[in-house]
Symmetry: C2
Subunit: 150 residues, 2 copies
DNA sequence: TTATTTTGTTTGTACATACAAATTAGTTGA
DNA sequence: TCAACTAATTTGTATGTACAAACAAAATAA
């Protein structure tokens, strides 16, 4: 009897838990919910917070560089900068065909608040997952992303 | 001198690589791109493929159960089933206040194609990441999701 | 110098997804 | 029996994100 007893095609749902696509997106939804909460006080979605921090850290950084560091497409980055510009948190300076992004005074002032939110977020998930797993997972994620993005 | 030399606030971008929110979403974008390719032949986005497979595996499964197994909200699930219903791949049967979902003949026939696409996807990412890392990562992701979803 | 190609950005459009509110249908307690 | 509650689903609306096409500026080739 080579055939296992279970005739029915995938009566259970192991194929979900085995799929990196599914499991990654599942975690993405969970951690995004958590991040939204942690950043609620900043008035900004988490992704925007990280963008501003990059701009504060490197005033005049180009949009191309930003989209690379954030691993999002240039078109998405355009929309992000649009929104932050209408909130007067960053401003663009066009230089030929490239666009350089600078923080405004208001943007710079937001820096500490953003770092705090990040810290809270990290505390929250480390409390649930443990520092061990959190760190290991984060490291694996970065390494995998780098490989897959090629 | 308690203060480290580096005065400038986050000149580098380590804070990105250290953040589980960022790294998870980064991988999510990369693997979703890959999954879209692998499922291109099916005419369906990957998420819909998994939904149909659950329905084939448990005909009459309720929407509530589906949304739990897929870890998506009920409202999202409603839209998914809407779309699959207009494509005549599944059909709803209302039973009181719950909705049961059944595969159509056409939906059942799609099963093998979907499993193939899944297999291709897995082969593709295992080729890049290695089976080792893939498995370990997938396991960590599932375990973390379970904990964070509580 | 002019024509071609490349590069960075933006715009149009589409989709997955969520939350909050509305709806509908059982359930329970007075 | 009916009012209040709870649970499953749907609808309205908003947002992050991508891809493809358009556009604009720079670089290169002729």
């Amino acid at each position: 009897m080579t055939q296992p007893m279970n005739q029915k095609p995938e009566k259970d749902e192991a194929f979900l838990q085995d799929c990196l696509y599914f499991t990654t997106n599942r975690l993405s939804r969970a951690i995004t919910r958590m991040a939204d909460e942690a950043f609620a006080t900043t008035g900004l979605a988490p992704a925007y917070g990280y963008l501003i921090r990059l701009v504060i850290g490197s005033p005049g950084i180009t949009q191309k560089e930003l989209s690379e560091k954030l691993s999002i497409t240039p078109s998405t980055l355009t929309r992000f900068v649009d929104k932050l510009e209408t909130k007067h948190l960053v401003e663009r300076k066009v230089h030929g065909k490239t666009v350089m992004v600078y923080p405004t005074e208001k943007g710079i002032e937001l820096g500490p608040t953003l770092r705090q939110a990040s810290k809270r977020l990290k505390q929250n998930y480390e409390e649930i997952l443990g520092k061990e797993l959190s760190d290991q997972l984060t490291e694996y994620l970065t390494s995998s992303s780098k490989q897959l993005e090629k």
